[in-house]
Amino acid sequence: MVKDILKKSYSFLIYLFLYLPILLLILYSFNDSKYRGNWNGFTLRWYKELFNDTSIMTSLYYTFIIAALASIIATIIGTVTAFAINKMKPKSKTTFLNITYIPVVNPDIVIGVSLLALFTWLKMTLGLTTILIAHITFTIPYVVLSVLPKLRQLNPHLEEAALDLGASPLYAFFKVILPEIMPGIVTGALFAFTLSLDDFIVSFFTTGSGISTLSIKIYSMTKRGVSPKINALSTLMFLGVLILLLLIEKRTKKSK
């Protein structure tokens, strides 16, 4: 009994610690004052103004475009690479996996400055292309590492059976192998998407003039005070993710 109360109160405190800043962010998005810290009554004004703020909307658009493109490209390259790694001999497998691991263990800031050095050396103009390349580079490994375990679990006779039954190699791939490893691919893609969405450091070093993602926009505001419009936007995004996760939760419960 005492143990139970201890457990409950401990987890409550940890959750409070995790959610306190988020709750305050949400609270201030309804605050009728430009400045934080004093409550001037409830308003929905920031939500209205948010949609008329072209600069926030533009950065939101870029954030999602980059995340979508980067995760699609990274998922394709990563899945193909996982197939290749799975079929390699032990020696080349180790080498390839070690190279794949570099962006995972390398600190974000080193990834950022090293790519900045590369793009400058190649005389590339910093902008959408460079951010995109950077995001694809650091998300591919996560796709590879999500797909590989699924390939290892794959029954090697499945493909043979399909081929024996007269399927063409391509047909066998799409009808037999792909459905089997789909969960791994989806996990990898989600991983890539969320990492790209939340990234600040790598984007910060590889962006050029005029292209700013949401994180870069927020960072430039932190010095002067972040507009409540940003709070409104994060509240909407937070609710979006919450609803999405609850839906997934419901679906998995049903399928169980």
Binding site: S11, P21, V80, P107, I109, F191, F238, V241
Partner: protein
């Protein structure tokens, strides 16, 4: 079916965008500077010698100490939490896990920025304390090393909990029952059975917390406000403000060495992949 050629696209990509950039940084770190600060391809150790100055060595020590402290705090706070999560009944567990990872999906910068609002002189903490008449003048909480430490713990605590949780939830319950059947107290069971079995999770938790702590510049920038300069801030400053890429590269090299060494110390045990978020 030979699938060798499938490795070519990423092979080329990795060489272009992972290996060549790192080689560039390595080369720059040994390059000299012209009178205008341009990169001159002439071998020198100046950039590394410069790092030996007390000011930079102090930055190194501060960064390592802060990262160490936050890793320890994350472990002490995170292990019990992971344990509670792994022992909660299945019905509740999914919801508890979902609530636990949800904050990770809100913008990291914003969550760190929210702490600025909590710690400010007119912030939530000071207002509550003054209202309760515990203090008369606001405490200086923001722009201190402690604020940076708090920010690190806040940001990286989930990365300690998740790997430990995933190992703990795989431990056979029979083992724990067997241990208590054989007369072990619950403390004994924990020390002799649960803790040793959960070590791989602990190791990957420590790596996943220590590494971003050593290299962060955002948390120290926002919550330390220029008061606490860490390795990450130095690198950012050399590349974007001071425009001394050779020195910035040397610091990046030193940071990579620190990370490689600390990973070797922890032992390259099979790290739990973070794919347990879904």
């Amino acid at each position: 079916m030979k699938k060798k050629w499938l490795s070519i696209p990423y092979g080329i990509w990795a060489i272009m965008f992972t290996i060549v950039p790192l080689l560039l940084i390595a080369i720059y770190s040994f390059c000299s500077r012209s009178a205008y600060g341009q990169i001159v391809y002439k071998f020198t150790l100046d950039n590394y010698v410069k790092f030996m100055e007390p000011i930079y060595i102090n930055v190194l020590i501060t960064s390592l100490m802060l990262a160490l402290k936050s890793t320890i705090i994350c472990f002490l706070l995170g292990y019990p939490m992971a344990y509670i999560l792994s022992r909660s009944d299945i019905k509740k567990r999914n919801l508890m896990m979902l609530l636990f990872v949800l904050p990770l999906w809100t913008n990291t910068l914003l969550r760190t920025y929210a702490w600025m609002g909590i710690l400010r002189e007119q912030g939530v903490i000071n207002q509550v304390l003054m209202f309760l008449n515990i203090i008369d003048t606001p405490l200086k909480l923001l722009y201190t090393d402690k604020a940076v430490l708090l920010g690190m713990v806040y940001n990286f605590l989930p990365f300690m909990v998740l790997p430990i949780y995933s190992v703990l939830s795989k431990i056979e319950y029979n083992l724990i029952e067997a241990s208590s059947d054989l007369g072990a107290t619950s403390f004994h069971t924990f020390r002799k059975v649960i803790l040793p079995l959960s070590l791989p999770g602990v190791v990957s938790g420590i790596t996943m917390v220590f590494m971003p702590c050593v290299s962060t510049f955002v948390i120290s920038d926002l919550l330390g406000g220029g008061q606490s300069i860490l390795l990450g801030n130095l690198i950012q400053n050399q590349f974007l403000v001071a425009r001394n890429w050779q020195f910035g590269s040397a610091i990046s090299m030193i940071m990579m060495v620190i990370i490689i060494v600390s990973m070797k110390i922890l032992g390259n045990k099979d790290r739990e992949e973070g794919g347990k978020l879904w």
